[in-house]
Symmetry: C2
Subunit: 346 residues, 2 copies
């Protein structure tokens, strides 16, 4: 028997509900095979912080490191000051475990209604850098709360960090039928960071001569995501631009209820982490209203990352079949999970 030694960080709000369904479908995907799932729940998030003041201790982190992968629900609650859990838990995991490839597919499945009048075929993937840029936490303020306050945020970009994610994006583009890579940045304003990204894409292209490339400013990218999303194959971009574009990508492909993501450490020096793009949605938490599909698709990405390609394909096929037939049926979070699990079992 092979075992998937899984760290489960359900987190806050609907995170708890969707992760339960993700695990249900994961169990279904390995049922009857020689693969077993051994989940360990980590009590992290708003409740733990209120009780202990901890977001993610060194001990938590070392324990999590021992797993094969992490399934994360959602982090954040209005009862906790903004930034505390995001920086102290979610981003700390991404940074500490060197998740430098934040992979977010933008795919419009048959049967899903896009808010765009003429969406066309949408099937791209955003490779969002995960460990640099404006997310590094190198900001600060002086004279805080006075009329003379100055608050700075520093975006840090390194040749090392940009090259490794660009290389990963090229490899993904090379493996896809269209073999196209779009760099998104804002190099006419953020000239130093932007030119580093641009030079890196040009240089790495030499190692992937089959891949064609183009460049878009981030503002123009939001236009094309509205008017012609079919033009995109692989997008590579920085941490903040990737955050923005992937929410827009989710919106045009049926909403964040369907948007999966993978925080990958391609060097496998630490476990990768799989999570829906959506947040903890406190407004609907605990009501069984959340769509667990994004989490289930994130489970499919996890299975693929761990080398279980057939199981991954079965989960994605179950979701695709469910989406093709769901119409406007209203189902609870658990009902969707149960039906997806049944489809996976076949």
């Amino acid at each position: 028997t092979r075992t998937i030694n899984l760290a489960v960080v359900a987190g806050d709000g609907i995170g708890i509900e969707v992760v339960e369904q993700g695990l249900k479908v994961l169990e279904a995907a390995v049922a009857g095979s020689d693969v077993a799932v051994a989940p360990t729940s980590y009590d992290l998030g708003a409740q733990r912080w209120h009780a202990t003041g901890d977001t993610l201790t060194d001990a938590d982190l070392e324990a999590i490191r021992t797993h094969d992968a992490i399934l994360l629900g959602a982090i954040g609650d209005p009862s906790v000051p903004s930034g505390v859990l995001e920086r102290g838990l979610l981003l700390k995991l991404r940074f500490a475990l060197d998740h430098y490839v934040n992979l977010r597919p933008g795919k419009l499945y048959p049967g899903v209604t896009s808010p765009l009048a003429n969406p066309g075929e949408i099937d791209f993937v955003v490779v969002r850098e995960g460990t640099e840029g404006p997310y590094v936490g190198n900001g600060g303020s002086i004279r805080t709360g006075t009329p003379h306050e100055v608050a700075n945020e520093v975006s840090v970009n390194t040749a090392f960090g940009v090259e490794r994610v660009v290389r990963d994006a090229f490899a993904r583009a090379q493996a896809r039928p269209r073999q196209h890579l779009t760099l998104v940045h804002k190099h006419n304003v953020l000239v130093h960071a932007g030119h580093l990204w641009r030079r890196t894409v040009e240089a790495v292209n030499a190692d992937f001569p089959d891949v064609t490339t183009d460049y878009l400013h981030v503002d123009a990218a939001t236009i094309f995501l509205t008017t012609n999303p079919s033009r995109f194959d692989v997008i590579v971009t920085d941490n903040l631009f990737g955050d923005i574009l992937t929410d827009q990508a989710a919106a045009i492909t049926g909403g964040i209820g369907l948007a999966a993501s993978a925080n990958i450490n391609p060097d496998r020096t630490a476990p990768s982490m799989f999570e829906p793009v959506h947040g903890s949605a406190p407004d609907i938490a605990g009501q069984g209203k959340a769509d667990p599909t994004a989490t289930v698709l994130s489970v499919a990405m996890m299975l693929a990352h761990l080398g279980y390609d057939a199981e991954s394909a079965a989960v994605e096929a179950a979701v695709a079949a469910d989406l093709a037939e769901r119409g406007d049926r209203v189902r609870s979070t658990a009902e969707v999970g149960t039906e997806l699990a049944a489809r996976v079992r076949g």
Copy 2:
């Protein structure tokens, strides 16, 4: 006779073509009144840079300062290294002339087809901060071009700078029927800058008790611009987020061919600047294909700023009538300008 002493910076590419039509409509708007337009053209942009190496000299700037307003076409050309004209000319004008309110309406006119399936009524305005944030040019790189390069970009935000633009946005919200203001930022990650913005909106709200407010992270804002743009009335946001959101806003309201903007110095210590949101579009430059409507709507914003409310309304009404009737007729840049001018004359 009153005179509008106008600086004209046509700039590059289609900028030259659209500004010509903007001036045509401006002349029509004041024809038969006691208002005269005295335009002075400034030779700025790619050609000047190639010929002299200048982007905007002190002498240029001092000359431009003497005008009542600036009409700008578009800046940027592929023959000039990225950032040179953007930073050295366009942003230099915005910063030197203290255009801290960058006003960009998002309005879907009757007759215009939105790429959204169910756009609903779209009528909001983005108040984009214009003199701070990641646009300040406080970046740099070390070991440039080596594997050890570090490229930083610094976003600078001050209580002074944030408060003045937030105050302006509240005043605009107060004057609109819905009296609603949405702050867009990313305060769960950019905690220092984000919390400054948030605290400022809370504090200034006390002076505008009729205005209701809410907050969206920038990523969530791109979702609502896709699924429910009617929810927005006034948006206030930082320079970079405003850049991104206003291109998306243009896309959902019919494209950047229609998107107007005003770079306003509300204290009137220097002339304000009016420009279409679109760029120089080198791919279609010189072909008479560009839509001058965005420039004409920017002229309407200029007339309003200068106190010519009736003339401003006449120009906007001409555009609205043209949009309601244009269908898919193909017209040249000059034809659109001529027809709009004729409508303004009545």
